[in-house]
């Protein structure tokens, strides 16, 4: 094996062959984060279910029952819980990856590996929570007599891919920025809150005007959540235009994130 070390000046895209060489490390990071997360917590995995369920109950009461926000013909609780499960996945990946460089400062400064592995691993470490919540969602939908579409797994999968690509891109940009500016840590809760209320989690896409729908579709979460909701709306067809817009914008963000991360990462160990 031959390695050449020289000044890192030319702009290049992320070296995927190297990431693949270190792929085990991605799992190891994810596995560490998962096992650390629930050690010493009393109800452990219970927290995973509790959060979306409690929020769902509150939202169903205020937005569904009192404000009577329409829910595309399905029960509002199922409607909002679907949104919350995907939102949970998104905010997990984003908050985890945006702090990943700072939290692992001591490792970055002492060992060499492609640093992008840590943000990558946050997708995997968010998977168990997401899967548990999906099971809860389907059980809840079945209890509520929602009609589960035969294509539901495809819908959920498409929703997952778009959400995690968007979250990764967003997380990469934030994590690289966080190395220089610790503002990210303080700004993140606020940004996430704004994003949550502008994503169609508590409301359906079709209550806003056609032209605004196109703008909202730029937020990849809109289509991700809308597609996932079709699992319980067998009688309604998907809008491919919105899906295309969202998928394009998610891809754009992830490429931007990868480029920005790659450009800045070589000096992380000097300035963290």
């Amino acid at each position: 094996m031959k390695t050449i070390i020289k000044p890192d000046t030319d702009l290049k895209f992320i070296d995927l062959t190297e990431v693949i060489k270190f792929k085990e490390l991605i799992y190891i990071f994810a596995w560490r984060d998962i096992s650390v997360k629930y050690k010493q917590s009393m109800i452990g995995v219970g927290w995973v279910i509790l959060q979306p369920l409690a929020t769902m109950i509150i939202f169903s009461y205020f937005f569904g029952k009192i404000s009577k926000i329409p829910s595309q013909g399905i029960s509002y609780s199922v409607f909002v819980l679907t949104g919350l499960v995907f939102w949970g996945l998104f905010s997990n990946i984003v908050s985890h990856s945006s702090n990943s460089m700072v939290d692992n400062e001591n490792i970055i400064k002492k060992v060499y590996f492609p640093k992008i592995i840590i943000p990558f691993s946050s997708i995997i470490s968010s998977l168990p929570d997401f899967c548990i919540n999906l099971v809860v969602l389907f059980i809840f939908a079945a209890i509520n007599r929602a009609e589960i579409s035969p294509y539901s797994l495809i819908y959920i999968f498409v929703g997952f891919i778009i959400t995690s690509i968007f979250a990764l891109g967003f997380g990469l940009i934030l994590s690289a920025t966080n190395v220089r500016f610790r503002d990210v840590r303080y700004a993140l809760p606020f940004v996430l809150q704004v994003l949550m209320y502008t994503s169609p989690i508590i409301f359906p896409l079709n209550i806003i005007s056609k032209s605004n729908q196109l703008i909202i579709a730029l937020n990849p979460l809109s289509s991700a959540i809308d597609t996932a909701r079709h699992s319980f709306m067998s009688n309604q067809a998907l809008e491919p235009v919105y899906l295309l817009i969202s998928a394009t914008s998610a891809t754009f963000i992830v490429i931007l994130g990868l480029l920005y991360f790659q450009k800045t990462q070589k000096f992380f160990s000097d300035i963290v």
Binding site: M1, K2, T3, I4, I5, K6, P7, D8, E24, L25, I28, R32, S35, V36, K39, Q40, N104, N106, I107, I108, K109, K110, V111, Y112, F113, R180, F181, R182, D183, K266, F267, S269, D270, I271
Partner: protein, 415 residues
Amino acid sequence: MNQSIISARGVSKMFIIGNKKPYYTLRETISEYVKNLFAKKKITKFWALKKVSFDIKQGEMVGMIGGNGAGKSTMLKILSRITPPTEGKIEINGRITSLLEVGTGFHPELTGKENIFFNGCLLGMTTKEIREKFNDIVEFAGIDKFIDTPVKKYSSGMYVRLAFSVAAHLESEILLIDEVLAVGDTEFQKKCIGKIDDVTKKGRTVIFVSHNMALIKSLCKRCLLLKDGKIIFDGETDKAINKYLESYKTGSNALIDRKDRLGNKNAMVTKIDIVNLTHKNLQFRMGDSIMVRLHYVNRIHKDIKRILVGITIKNQMGIRLFIQHNKLSGDKITLNADGGVLACTLPGLPLIAGRYYITYSFLEHEALGGDYIDSIENAVSFDVEEADYFGTGELPHPEHGLYLMKGKWTQLKKD
């Protein structure tokens, strides 16, 4: 066997040191930016390494020595690809692993077993390799009973042993080791050194950074001596060590040129050296007795009677740890007309490992408020290294106190 496994050509590394503090928040950056629009921008460039070139052959065990800030750690960081060089090129023919710290990524909540896997993977082992060597690692560390206990419950000795053990089982063609062997009990250190020795006999290449000259001498035939970012000597270990110790001495000569003196300069300290009374070498370990010698010249060529002479010791944070002057010790001191040497003996340094600075003062009339004759703040520095101070192989965490204090714990009968 004669082919170079590492060849470095003209490697330089520059750091930009901010004129004040590194920016941490956006607000500060913006305000700094606005300020800098009007003020002349002061960027201090610091070259940690300047055009360093060397070749290392397969199977060599090379030591790297030099004072603090000589560029040793930067060199290791570049070799291990943690940070890129600013100029130059290095060719490496083989898998390289670096051990810059013991127990990198150890997580206190994880068990010993889990940490072995995480740490091993970080250092470049595959999980398959770790599984194969798992029993060896545990046995080497001697902690088989506690392997399923979270490491936060480990004693510091156990923790270090486990961390070492993982590192000792790395299999790569090139191994970079930084100062990590300084911790841990001496018994275990020997075991690790034996292991590293085995490793080189099997044809692996090791680059070893340490302040421990005895260790370097016993392990390495060849040494690189760095000073101010340059290699000033490359060759036999004995010669390198001598050169290094010499450069230490010349370092304190520069005291004559110091402009930051206080006082009327009727007498001036021209040189300070520190002698280790416990071990006859120039390094200081915890608990060693030292003698600080102030070489002075008398410029008025008349005895200056009844002066107050004192030294204070500060740590790297600038905290004054203690003062020792001749009024405290009850000694009467006169500065001789033809100069001389004043010595202060400090028995059994109770200081934790780190760098310390000596400030000295000569005052007239044996009074603390008297006029200064001569004084230099932070005139010289010295490093204290870890040692088995308590005879138990244990040391307190550096954040738990600035001093070491011997003690004894017993159970007393209830009264």
